[in-house]
Subunit: 362 residues, 2 copies
């Protein structure tokens, strides 16, 4: 019994004196052979230590890998720590699980731009979640001849898409602040491009941002405030590369230091908003009396704190992406799913104090 090479379908067949087809059928189509022979095949397999048909060889032959590839932002830890990304991931994983498909996280080396991993992934399709528009990995994915779904990304021709109406949602939020009377606002956003720029982001940078979600939200804000005569080029927008409450706090500090008249801090994520709240508290600013703070996403911790924000259905977004990918392989035209959002009016937003109040207290 030479245990060097593990047994294969062929060796098993030889041992049994039957054809490979029959052994294959024993595993895949029990109705194609007599129960007795099938029993013998399976028993001999056990005896020889044959672990069943090799998954890779099977994939090659059947032209399906049984897995979905997932391309995430270059920084993996980011995804695992961002509640919104995590919700998406969970939803996608659930959809895959429901369909019996594996979920293959594509390794993205943050250092060298190594696109090879995308080409090496044996998957039946890809989901691309919120990567920069110019990410070479995205291009690599698109070059693969498998169905793809993008999420929180701009439309790519021939590719399904799932997302929310970022522009509309944040405009609704902006309108709320406008109605309350806010005109001097500041914005804290996530990184806008692949290069690090921890500081103010001029309008040009906002417009050419490589991250669709951020770009769109900023555009929505700009549009909403322009309508009531606010000169957007004078609205301070502070960008942070890292996505953490610490970043939110330092951004708030930077912004408030530079512009003390600001009555509202609009953050493009709840995580950043949580940090802003911390900084406000540290400065002795009461929220919402002295300062309004808003977020985006609708994460649990924000809800607990009564954060005014836009809630988006992250879990559903992931599920939708999975379903889109796993449904019909190739319909005529790419589909697009836009999920609804909900404006959550919490306790961190209120009308700004009047100039008078500012000087003399409430």
């Amino acid at each position: 019994m030479h245990v060097r090479r593990p047994a294969t379908l062929a060796s098993l067949a030889a041992e049994l004196g039957v054809s490979r087809t029959t052994v294959s059928n024993a595993y895949n189509r029990p109705d194609q052979l007599s129960p007795e022979l099938r029993r013998r095949v399976l028993e001999t397999a056990r005896r020889l230590g044959y672990p069943g048909p090799d998954p890779v060889a099977r994939s090659l032959r059947t032209r399906k890998a049984g897995a979905v590839g997932l391309l995430l932002t270059e920084n993996l830890s980011y995804a695992f720590r961002d509640p919104a990304a995590l919700g998406f991931l969970e939803g996608l994983a659930l959809a895959c699980e429901g369909a019996g498909q594996g979920l293959h996280l594509v390794p993205v080396n943050p250092e060298r731009e190594d696109v090879a991993a995308v080409h090496r992934a044996g998957v039946d399709g890809f989901v691309v979640y919120s990567v920069p528009d110019d990410d070479p990995h995205l291009a690599a994915v698109l070059s693969r001849p498998v169905p793809t779904v993008v999420a929180d990304q701009p439309t790519v021709d021939g590719v399904d898409r799932v997302g929310i109406d970022d522009r509309g949602a944040i405009m609704e939020l902006a309108q709320q602040l406008i109605t309350l009377g806010h005109r001097k606002v500041g914005v804290i956003c996530m990184r806008l491009a692949r290069d690090r720029n921890d500081g103010f982001a001029p309008v040009e940078r906002q417009k050419t941002a490589h991250f669709h979600v951020q770009r769109t939200r900023l555009a929505g804000l700009s549009e909403a405030f322009a309508k009531v005569g606010v000169d957007w080029s004078r609205v301070p927008v502070v960008e942070r590369f890292d996505h953490s409450t610490a970043s939110g706090a330092s951004a708030a500090a930077q912004l408030l230091d530079a512009d003390r008249d600001v009555t509202a801090l609009i953050c493009t994520s709840d995580i950043l908003a949580l940090g802003a709240l911390t900084e406000a508290k540290r400065r002795g600013l009461r929220v919402p009396q002295d300062l309004t703070v808003t977020g985006f996403d609708g994460i649990a911790e924000g809800e607990r704190l009564g954060l005014t924000t836009v809630r988006q259905p992250v879990l559903e977004k992931g599920k939708a992406a999975g379903k889109l990918l796993l449904a019909s392989p190739d319909p005529t035209r790419p589909r697009e799913i836009t999920l609804p959002t909900e404006l959550i009016l919490g306790t961190t937003s209120a009308a700004p104090r009047t100039a008078e109040e500012r000087w003399f207290g409430p």
Copy 2:
């Protein structure tokens, strides 16, 4: 130009009038052909829409898939919501990313016991994280002829393992409570088997628990308290199937309702402990004056609340699992990595009130 079937290595070679080997070399070993020819190959590839060597076929030939399989508990959402599991996942993902390996989440259908997905996964190895000892998926993984690492699971012969000293760690915690004077304690634990049993868990069930981690922690507690003469069979142990703060709260309620003398609630996870804290507050019990509450894991929210607990390096655990799997393919004997834990004395533990104080107030 029949675009029916996408181009293959062979069709490209035919088009160019060179051998398949040469085309293969153009992609994999650029030094094996002239730069000029390589350029032609690549350009023709682009023209014909050839996406590069098929990953599955390549995997078959090279006998490596470039991915690691991960088997998680049957309930996927659980993993995505448990900070400890998430930390492990992040660590593992980082290790894989560092090695350029994909991470393949094996779909585990909670309904029917469908082990097929394990056999279908084209991976070079498996990591199995905290599944019940009798999980058929675990058996399926072990039957595959690839290296495997188990984490937070009992040792399996021939398989690498990573974990912590659950018994020792919780004994240290127990000793601390004992030193403080606690003798009447109650325990809240996660589910002990695959069947649902939301309620008290008799000693027998504790001992035969299918989840290694829970079983070991309970054994450690039992041992520590037995040493000081506590009859463990009379210690209330409440089990919860779902792992959530709500479960922790309801378990605490059930336990405190049944046994009002309890001075300390030992929870086998921080999540459960957070719930217990909520319930204590709801009852007007002051922590730690009226009730001591402890957890296990060392999650961020627990730290913020000053929870007395055992901190374990979850991220490192995941990284270690990945490294173990990706290091040398097959050493002589299986390795075992036990990571250090740290007892965190927070503000949720203190000496119990004396009987006198109980009746007359502090």
